[in-house]
């Protein structure tokens, strides 16, 4: 339920409203112009055929059957059947072509969304819950997809038939036509007025549905805890309450629809009722022919049926607008270039690895400074350890180096050039980063190691050998072609870490950044990984953050962070001897 409150929030937000966001998205349909035009023509044909068939039935009755004229009867019969067959063919093909175009259109939107995801600055992701971003790229696109691939065809077809029937009626008998059109106003008005209520009801139902789902998944995931405290009945009562809320909302919806849908259908029959009354009187008075009357009956059907369908589909259309708005807003979020400025020019060459932080000040807002006046320097091949309690600024320091965020004061240079002058992708790929989590995609081990780069198997195997991954793979009966599941569920945390190290080694960076790279490792692989890291650190400039301070003994110097400042700096033993903050952190670590 909390989820919907976010969704609601989103609707208020956003500068572009309803229709504009729809037209904004249509640019992604440009490649499908031809198909869409063809589909529209076919759908229009189908509607035209429907109307023609209705007219011919009237003619058949009046000129053929009533006069008992064989020739005309046969002629019209053949025409009616041919027209009906053509109508079937056009709608079938029209809908197929439309679906094909719509699917490609949605694919274009997805493609844009995914590339936008990569272009958005890190601060965007920090600011909002993951769930919301996930909703944008999944649920909201699906909303659009459902509309474009299934509702759109129906909506277009219905509107075309409706319009043509309207024209046919007005052309045949203008005044009767006007009466019939006017008789549809109550239905249209009714739909218009109930719009908001339906939206509310649907939202309530879907909020409660997801409420049930999240409660159940919460309790299933927390079942051990429920058992530890014998909360089985407590949890049952609470779950039942949530389901009862869902029940209330869905029964309220049932109630509402029960009392509105049938009356709406009745209102949609108004043209037929009107036709029978007024048309019938005209026929009785001799001012209207019976053929015209019959044709009108068919027109009427073709006028009110599609309109009824459209009126029922109105909330789907509404939802599509909402989805469109959210997707558009997401696509118009500022990207990295807006935030960090134009990308730098330096994009090739081998770095030496001289890093300097000069009086860096950084904060997400004026009041909240994350880093205050941080300065330090690293010569090529030097190793520096970063320590401090959670939130003291270690991770931010590393993030700045990778240009994930911008800083307000001071400068960071690599090999003498400001990191603002570097191309961001080049800069990031020049840093070898190993963190606590490893990104594993569903694919072969080779793919996971090589990513997009072109590297020969021999080189990959050599790197595996060097990191020790090869031995582990052999032990597990795996090779480069073994497929890893998403999230890496078929290899252990330590194995994943070795994989990440191998991945870094393959790009041979001059700068190595280790952020808690050895935390949470199974003891079995701990040694292998330590060994591997030590090997990789040789000849590379290194920045290391470690939970276990022991591991920083190999560093040339250690920086102690506190509240965004470096308060102690020096070699490991020297800091220890100074008995300051570092000593305190270290000794608690050791007991």
């Amino acid at each position: 339920m909390a989820q919907t409150s976010y969704l609601e929030q989103d609707e208020v937000k956003g500068e572009i409203r309803d229709f504009h966001s729809f037209t904004y998205l249509l640019r992604y349909a440009a490649s499908e112009k031809l198909k869409i035009t063809l589909a529209l023509i076919l759908l229009a044909c189908k509607s035209a055929f429907d109307i023609t068939s209705a007219w011919f039935v009237g003619q058949l009755v009046e000129k053929g059957l009533a006069q008992k004229d064989w020739d005309i009867t046969i002629k019209f019969t053949v025409i009616i059947i041919a027209v009906e067959a053509l109508a079937v063919l056009s709608i079938w093909n029209g809908r197929r072509i439309l679906a094909d175009a719509s699917c490609s259109f949605i694919l274009n939107i997805r493609r844009t969304l995914f590339s936008h995801l990569q272009a958005l600055p890190m601060s965007f992701f920090d600011k909002q819950p993951q769930g919301r971003t996930v909703t944008r790229i999944t649920h909201d696109v699906e909303g659009l997809e459902n509309f474009f691939t299934s509702s759109l065809g129906r909506v277009l077809s219905a509107s075309l038939t409706f319009t043509l029937a309207l024209i046919a009626m007005l052309a045949t008998d203008f005044s009767l036509g006007i009466i019939l059109v006017l008789s549809m106003t109550p239905a249209a008005l009714f739909t218009f007025l109930s719009r908001a209520k339906i939206r509310e009801i649907n939202r309530e139902v879907s909020a409660n549905t997801s409420g049930c789902n999240s409660k159940l998944s919460e309790y299933l995931n927390g079942l051990p805890v429920i058992r530890y405290f014998a909360l089985e009945n407590w949890a049952k009562e609470r779950y039942d309450n949530v389901v009862n809320k869902y029940k209330d909302s869905i029964l309220a919806a049932n109630h509402y629809y029960a009392f509105t849908r049938p009356p709406l259908s009745l209102l949609c029959l108004f043209p037929t009722i009107g036709l029978l009354y007024f048309g019938g009187k005209e026929v009785l008075a001799g001012t209207m022919s019976i053929g015209l009357f019959v044709a009108f009956i068919r027109y009427c059907e073709r006028f009110s049926f599609p309109l009824t369908a459209l009126l029922r589909e109105i909330h789907v259309i509404q939802q599509a607008f909402t989805s469109a708005e959210r997707v558009t807003t997401f696509l118009q979020e500022h990207d990295e270039t807006d935030l960090l400025g134009e990308d730098g020019k330096i994009k090739e060459g081998q770095l030496k690895g001289v890093i300097e932080f000069k009086n860096i000040e950084m904060g997400y807002s004026e009041e909240q400074k994350i880093l205050k006046n941080v300065s330090f320097k690293l010569s090529p091949g030097e190793k520096v350890g970063l320590v401090g309690r959670t939130g003291s600024g270690k991770t931010t320091t590393i993030s700045l180096l990778a240009r994930l965020y911008d800083f307000q004061k001071g400068d960071i240079t690599i090999d003498g050039f400001s990191i603002r002058d570097y191309n961001r992708s080049f800069l990031r790929s020049s840093l070898g980063f190993v963190g606590q989590d490893v990104v594993i995609f569903n694919g072969t081990i080779r793919e996971n190691l090589v990513c997009e780069r072109k590297i020969s198997d021999q080189k990959v195997l050599n790197a595996c050998e060097e990191t020790g991954l090869l031995r582990i793979l052999k032990r597990n009966n795996m090779n480069l072609d073994t497929v890893l599941y998403g999230r890496g569920s078929n290899i252990s945390v330590g194995e994943r870490q070795l994989l990440a190290l191998t991945r870094v080694l393959l790009s041979d960076p001059r700068i190595l950044v280790l952020d808690e790279a050895t935390a949470n490792i199974d003891p079995e692989l701990e040694l292998v990984i330590h060994h591997c890291i030590e090997k990789m650190m040789k000849g590379r400039s290194c920045l290391i953050i470690a939970h276990r301070i022991d591991t920083l003994k190999i560093c040339d110097k250690v920086l102690t962070f506190s509240d965004g400042e470096i308060i102690e700096e020096g070699p490991f033993e020297q800091l220890l001897a100074a008995k300051g903050v570092f000593y305190k952190l270290y000794s608690h670590n050791q007991i």
Binding site: E84, L220, Y228, E232, I250, L585
Partner: protein, 583 residues
């Protein structure tokens, strides 16, 4: 306090025996269905009546239109419409038409409020029953067969489909029955010959529709399956965005996602194309029926055995007749799917549950010896080696036992055995002087608390996560938070104790989660507290604070503490090292 706890326990036992009674009902899906229908029989009878009425009106509308045409042409019409003047006759016809249209509305309201409503009500019952049963499933079932994903699927897609046979499908069935019957009767009264011809043409329709629906359903399910995998990939992409950027693997992810999106597009298109086969099928059958109708009907009009009005009515009726026949196909396949889903739900409902959670047993009476273990052996069912081998151990009241040892030596397993969650060990295990298995689940839980390795929090406020099912004042909650070293953190939150947790609330760090879990266990005032390496993500300074606090506060409590860092165990009276499993 004590009194309320024991009454809580009684309520627990009562509720369980109640749910046990429910379990006897509903063995097979058919039985569940029949019972449900029998319980609500009047709703269904009333609903059936309304569907019949709706069908009758639906058939009457074109019939009256047809008579109107005949009347206007001067042909013969039924005598009950005939009045003295033409105008009066016409007005009678018109009024009849209006009455029928109004009746149709009433009938439609009627079936929506009766049978359609039952669909939702049944769905709710089915949903509730899943959790009612699953909460007592054995750990093995939950790990292997009935995983969270599996049960979630039961609760969403299966319940959604299964509920149809309690309502919507029945409406469809009644509709087919009555509409088909009325249309057929009306058609026969107009012309038997034409009726027989058209029916002959239409007979293939239900079979074709059934087949097509089945294929369509399969293709949609395939596309949907792929979509959920694809969405999972999408959420992973968002979750790992920081790492992607740091390791420059973003564009690779992007390519993967795009290629999955393209694959999904293909599958969805295939499903859509399959469903579009309904156009030539139903459209084609209309065309064929028109041919039949025109060929025979026109002859009959020409030789005077059929009026023009009747001809037009026939055309409308044939159009209507298609619906129930096509619907018959839909209904059969819907029924099949619904039944299969109900069968899957029945598997959940009838699954044997963990006996130890439900049997009534003795209450715990504290004695000097909390645990006496004699030659305890334990092997996981699928495991080969004994994880616990001939363990002998005695733990006294108020004693503090530390357990250390490498990964995989059975430390967590031992805690699970001691707490009664693994009942199938070998050897003798006495708890307060009686075999552990003799105690009831609620009484054991009241006596002891466990803080697991992996912290789990409910999507509720901080306060609720500490107090759980008991009432607690803010001061009390703060007291336990303070003991767990989390008071300061909580005071910094804008909403303090009322701060919501979970994905849509505030996100706690790993250490904060562990400390909150600790506070929760302490708040249950256990006489025996088992801690399973539950401070691993807490920094050493904070840990030290917690340890001194516990040492002071928990003088009366028996403590069993598993830890990785030996520093954690410095306040323990005895430390046991587990290692036999490691070899």
């Amino acid at each position: 306090m004590l009194k309320s706890e024991s009454s809580k326990r009684q309520a627990y036992i009562k509720l369980n025996s109640f749910s046990h009674k429910l379990a006897i009902r509903g063995k097979a899906p058919g039985q569940i269905w029949r019972h449900y229908l029998a319980d609500n029989i009047w709703m269904y009878i009333l609903g059936g009546f309304f569907v019949a009425l709706a069908c009758a009106t639906q058939v009457s509308i074109p019939r009256i239109m047809g008579w109107a045409i005949d009347f206007l042409r001067g042909d013969h019409i039924p005598s009950f419409f005939l009045k003295t003047t033409k105008m009066e006759t016409f007005e009678t016809m018109f009024l009849t038409f209006v009455v029928v249209v109004l009746l149709q509305m009433v009938a439609r309201i009627g079936w929506r409020l009766t049978i359609a409503r039952q669909t939702h009500k049944a769905g709710v019952e089915l949903k509730k029953k899943i959790w009612e049963k699953a909460r007592f499933f054995t750990q093995k079932d939950l790990d292997e067969k009935y995983t969270v994903g599996h049960l979630m699927n039961n609760s969403t897609s299966d319940v959604n489909t299964a509920r149809f046979m309690f309502g919507f499908t029945l409406i469809g069935a009644f509709d087919v029955l009555f509409l088909g019957l009325f249309t057929l009767i009306t058609m026969i009264t107009i012309s038997l010959e034409m009726t027989l011809w058209t029916m002959a043409v239409f007979l293939f329709l239900p079979f074709a529709v059934k087949k097509l629906t089945k294929i369509e359903g399969e293709r949609y399910a395939e596309a949907q399956d792929y979509l959920s995998k694809f969405n999972d990939q999408g959420s992973q992409a968002v979750a790992t965005i920081r790492m992607q950027r740091l390791t420059q693997t973003g564009s690779f992810w992007e390519k993967k996602l795009v290629s999955s999106a393209d694959e999904f597009r293909k599958r969805r298109l295939k499903a859509l194309f399959t469903s579009y086969y309904f156009f030539p099928f139903t459209g084609g059958s209309t065309v064929i029926s028109y041919i039949v109708m025109f060929v025979i009907g026109i002859q009959m009009v020409m030789n005077g055995s059929l009026t023009v009005g009747e001809f037009i009515t026939m055309q409308s009726l044939i159009y209507i007749m298609q619906d129930p026949l096509a619907e018959l196909g839909f209904i059969i396949s819907e029924l099949q799917r619904s039944y299969t889903s109900l069968e899957r739900l029945c598997e959940v409902y009838n699954r044997p549950q963990a006996v130890y959670l439900k049997t009534t047993g003795r209450d715990v009476k504290a004695t000097e010896k909390v645990f006496q273990l004699k030659n305890i052996d334990f092997t996981y069912p699928e495991g080969e080696r004994k994880i616990i081998d001939r363990l002998n151990l005695e733990i006294n009241q108020k004693e503090r036992i530390g357990i250390i040892g490498p990964v995989g030596t059975g430390k967590t397993t031992l805690l699970n055995i001691l707490s009664g969650f693994i009942p199938d060990y070998q050897g003798e295990l006495l708890f307060n002087g009686r075999p552990l298995r003799e105690y009831s689940h609620p009484s054991l839980r009241e006596y002891m608390a466990i803080v697991p390795q992996k912290a789990f929090l409910f999507a509720d406020t901080v306060k609720k996560n500490v107090s759980l099912n008991s009432d607690m004042s803010d001061e009390e909650v703060y007291h336990y938070l303070d003991l767990a070293g989390l008071k300061y953190d909580v005071e910094q939150f804008p909403l303090k104790l009322e701060t919501p947790l979970g994905e849509w609330g505030i996100n706690l760090s790993g250490g904060q989660k562990q400390r909150l879990t600790m506070a929760r266990a302490l708040a249950s005032k256990p006489k025996l507290l088992m801690l399973d390496d539950c401070l691993s993500a807490v920094d050493t300074v904070t840990e030290e604070k917690i340890l001194t606090g516990l040492d002071k506060e928990m003088k009366e409590t028996t403590l069993i503490w598993v830890a990785h860092r030996s520093s954690t165990l410095k306040y323990c009276d005895r430390v046991i090292e587990m290692n036999n499993g490691a070899n």
